[in-house]
Symmetry: C2
Subunit: 470 residues, 2 copies
């Protein structure tokens, strides 16, 4: 996965074809190696000379991306072997995933031939590798920063969601690999690789069907070294049918799967949103010392829903301890009786106490040992008029200051910046960016925050899970 | 709830006070009646003469909004009675919800006095009424258009979410009422009122605790006339504690609650997001004739997750029927074998078939009687470069054309427009707006669409639920 040179076999001068887009993406992202378009017709594409064949390329080629039809791949495998290519990535699809007997057979033949000739196959039916360190990508404009999260996904779409939607949340990757049908290199080999990769601290995975007979033992070994978070599709008969036709995968029984993942010490999630959210928790939060959550809730209704959601996800929302109330009494007088956990921001602000008082109370909560996890929901504080933007800013500042002052894990909840008015979109976006830039764990809703923190705390607080400390 | 004149008692010249904001909101929204600020200090606010007392107002007053402290409310009730005011809305809080014995007693005294003097109380601890027909509002810049959805909410924050977040999804309201502690007018009276209100077709509710001993029979009667969708907070002990301190509500046992709502023929939901989504389904979709869903899925992985999610929510994702495949064969040749339900858009497009072929296949699916519900997920088709925006537009057009050509319910899934780049935000927003403007039911994720459609179809297909036809 660390090529010094890439050939794109099936390179095309047509900008809507993937054989053009790969080249354009790699050029724009700044691949730090040599790029060779290959097409019988020759010419130039994006200023690069097109070579008529692999063998016509003057220098060595480490990695080949194929966008040619499936029927031509066996010859390409032979060409790769002759050229000394180590890895052949097949964007090429319509093989085993079609369920068509002759295509299944063709895929088998390709893999058999490749194994005999010493060429490894990534895919088929996959988009390939995003590795910002060397400027490798299969999508336009992904984050340029290198991170320590590795992601493997049988779906290129979900790999893209991790990169883009995860990227918006501040996730940064060592590598993201879309691996499709997994005909040769499969989930087990990736897990082994990333488990021993010094540049990877967390492994996230989207799996449709397990290929390796050694999966359980490999997962167990990997999970002993670092957190492995897995989303599995094919939870129902209809979904399993879909997995078979997407990547030719056998989904298997879902209840058995969940038990297996848990037994191996890995983390099971149900959706891509939950995979992103849970990875955010692992990537951004220190280890909690317990399950008790102290919350600034968004309004009265929001506070109740917050209490419900955290309790339903295995965490605990204790009543406000007397010691906090006693301290609050010293500056609130009789109004200490309005102070609860969750701390309803709407009870505090309309009384004219303002942000300083809210911050003071939350700081006392943050310092009290009963609370081991903190949550600040800014959700409901959205501005109704452009002039209200100052409240959004003040809220963000308050939450970020508390976050900086504590070594407890603290999650922030900020609603998505999906507004129709430009001023409102900008206002939300600015607050999100401030939080992301400071490295905060930001979630789009209380429900999603509660699920992710439940997964994270459940993992950290299970005995023998000590590898997440930092 | 249909006042010709409103007095705001506690009107303030300070723009951050609610006694100013109410006035500003009503002026900006264009309340179609007389507005009277009341404050002992007199003067003018926002160009309106401030009256020193209710009795000093020259004309009749139908409705009073109170932002004064709780202790002054008993006198205000007397003033209201003297002035012939029918309804007193108490933004005033810090009464029973505080749990403080003397404040609970004060609330009881206020209600008792009001009942004796013939004044009805809305609240306390509530924001009041949004009724676009007459320009009544308690938030800035809500939609001006009148709709046929009524919403009642014990939380003003959640009422605001219905108006704003629901508004972005095309929900339009007859009325939205934030009713807080429900000390006098409670959920049962609202249900009775909206059940017989010709301008209301659907009732949505957020309830923390039931006040009326007749709730079950009133709900049953209302649910016989129109759909009633209810979100209830206080699912856990911590949540129930929150409900008690927010609106002084007794949350009760959640399992009992769910059974009761179902037995009464109403629809139970677990969160405000689900309340909005389910209301969108009821408001925007025709009645399905069955539970079989035909889907254009977003990529291979997205298609599998779609199949899983719909199956897990009580719907059915059948394999593609032979008759559809036979028709597809006539123009796809052997590639008909790649056509499945869900129809994976990424299998279709990279083959160079383009949008027309995808549309042609989906039109055949839409016409086949096996599919009774249609879903088009445009989610993954997001543009990676500004030039790709044409694909987003073409996708939207294709989905909207299919939608127009069928009388089956069809849901669209479009990801939120929450991007950091302005061109991408605009591109997403434009597609969302096109769909909303055509009256489509749009959902931000497959998971949320599946849950809402499961609720809706489950309701429609239960015998004796015929009142939703249109």
């Amino acid at each position: 996965m660390n090529p010094r040179s890439i050939a794109i076999v099936g390179a095309s001068p047509n900008p809507v074809k993937q054989g053009y887009r790969y080249l354009q993406q790699l050029l724009e992202f700044g691949f730090k190696g040599k790029l060779y378009p290959v097409n019988r017709r020759g010419g130039t594409i994006l200023g690069l000379e097109v070579h008529p064949s692999l063998s016509a390329i003057p220098g060595p080629v480490d990695y080949v991306i194929s966008t040619i039809p499936a029927e031509e791949v066996p010859q390409l495998v032979k060409d790769c072997a002759q050229k000394g290519v180590k890895l052949l990535q097949l964007y090429t699809a319509q093989l085993a995933e079609t369920g068509i007997p002759e295509q299944k057979k063709l895929e088998e033949q390709i893999v058999e031939l490749a194994q005999r000739l010493g060429v490894r196959i990534l895919g088929p039916n996959c988009m390939g590798v995003y590795r910002p360190e060397i400027g490798l990508t299969f999508r336009f404009s992904p984050p340029r920063e290198v991170g320590d999260i590795a992601c493997i996904s049988q779906s290129a779409g979900h790999a893209g969601e991790m990169i883009y939607r995860g990227g918006l949340r501040g996730l940064r990757f060592s590598q993201v690999i879309s691996y499709g049908n997994a005909a040769d290199i499969n989930e087990a080999e990736f897990l082994e690789y990333f488990a021993s990769d010094d540049k990877t601290r967390i492994i996230a995975a989207y799996i449709e069907g397990v290929r390796s007979p050694h999966f359980a033992s490999v997962l167990k070994a990997a999970a002993r070294l670092k957190p492995v978070i897995i989303c599995k599709a094919g939870r129902t008969a209809a979904g399993a049918r879909g997995a078979a036709s997407h990547t030719g995968s056998l989904a298997g029984n879902y209840a058995v799967w969940k038990a297996l993942v848990k037994q191996c010490g890995a983390i099971h999630v149900d959706s891509i949103d939950e995979l992103i959210d849970t990875t955010v928790a692992f990537a951004k939060l220190p280890v909690p010392k317990g399950r008790n959550v102290g919350i600034i809730g968004s309004g009265g209704g929001g506070s109740i829903i917050a209490a419900d959601e955290f309790e339903l996800n295995g965490l605990h929302v204790p009543p406000m301890p007397q010691a906090v109330l006693d301290e609050v009494k010293t500056f609130l007088g009789n109004d200490w009786r309005l102070v609860k956990n969750p701390l309803d921001n709407s009870v505090i602000l309309p009384m004219g106490w303002g942000m300083d008082v809210l911050k003071r109370i939350f700081a006392i909560m943050a310092a009290h040992p009963i609370f081991q996890i903190l949550v600040g929901d800014a959700g409901e504080w959205y501005p109704e008029t452009p002039a209200d933007a100052v409240y959004s800013e003040a809220t963000t500042s308050m939450l970020l200051e508390i976050r900086k002052s504590t070594d407890k894990p603290m999650a922030l909840v900020l609603r998505p910046a999906d507004h129709t008015e430009e001023w409102k979109w900008r206002c939300f976006l600015e607050q999100q960016q401030r939080c992301i830039n400071e490295g905060a764990a930001v979630f789009p809703s209380i429900t999603r925050a509660a699920k992710a923190l439940g997964n994270y705390a459940g993992y950290c607080l299970t005995p023998s899970k000590k590898q997440i400390s930092r």
